[in-house]
């Protein structure tokens, strides 16, 4: 089955991005395809390359980058939400791309299920 995921909150502050990652990983492990993960609202903050969490904590941003590289998941950051919050090409982590909201609607059309994680 083809899944798309919507992540509405930033890393660390809310569990949303953790839950979304665990869900994506489990879906892939079960043989499903995660075609796109769309980051909206504060969710755009998942895409900054500048985070430096404590050594003994998970690195949420790097985890997404790795997922994109190893599983060809399309990580899309909403441009309008990103501009409001200071997420631009300059601080964008590898594996993410910035694009329009149409990519979210398209994901809804093209995938079998769209699952939202937020606050």
């Amino acid at each position: 089955m083809k899944f798309a995921i919507l992540v509405n909150e930033g890393p660390y502050n809310h569990q949303a991005s953790d839950s979304a990652y665990q869900f994506a990983k489990a879906a892939i492990d079960k043989g499903h395809r995660v075609s796109r993960i769309f980051f909206y609202h504060d969710g755009v903050n998942n895409a900054t390359r500048l985070t430096e969490p404590p050594q003994d904590d998970r690195h949420i941003v790097n985890r997404w980058t790795k997922l994109a590289e190893e599983q060809s998941v399309d990580l899309v950051v909403c441009v309008a939400a990103a501009l409001r919050r200071g997420l631009v090409e300059e601080n964008l982590a590898p594996g993410f791309r910035i694009s329009g909201l149409g990519q979210l609607v398209e994901a809804g059309i093209q995938s079998d299920r769209l699952v939202t994680f937020g606050d």
Partner: protein
């Protein structure tokens, strides 16, 4: 749009459960709704819980220096987005009636909204 999408019409429901201004979800949710109009899908909007406050007449935001986006709900018709549902139970609990809202809506019971929700292909909640 890609080739594989041509002809696909899905039922999209956007559920608004948050009050405006206290958080950005109402405003950014509306931005998604407007974009969805370009994709020729079967789009509906549901307002429940504090989401019904989004449609309150008479919003004046000068005092908090935040943009008043409530006129945009009136513009939805121009985008051919005409299915606006409001949950009766949520209106009642807030002492509001249809007359307090800035656009024409269809007032439905919780059960009716539940039934409509069940029929959707994609449900996105803000």
């Amino acid at each position: 749009m890609e080739e594989e999408m041509s002809g696909t019409i899905k039922k999209f429901m956007f559920i608004n459960r948050k009050a405006p201004y206290g958080t950005v979800y109402a405003l950014e949710g509306l931005e998604v709704v407007l974009i969805s109009a370009a994709f020729d899908q079967d789009v509906s909007l549901t307002f429940a819980d504090d989401g019904v406050y989004q449609l309150r007449k008479g919003q004046h935001t000068k005092g908090i220096d935040v943009k008043n986006f409530s006129p945009t709900y009136r513009a939805l018709e121009g985008y051919d987005i005409e299915k606006l549902y409001v949950e009766k139970e949520s209106l009642d609990a807030r002492g509001l009636t249809e007359d307090d809202l800035l656009v024409p809506v269809e007032v439905l019971t919780s059960a009716e909204i539940g039934a409509l929700m069940d029929e959707q292909d994609v449900v996105i909640s803000f």
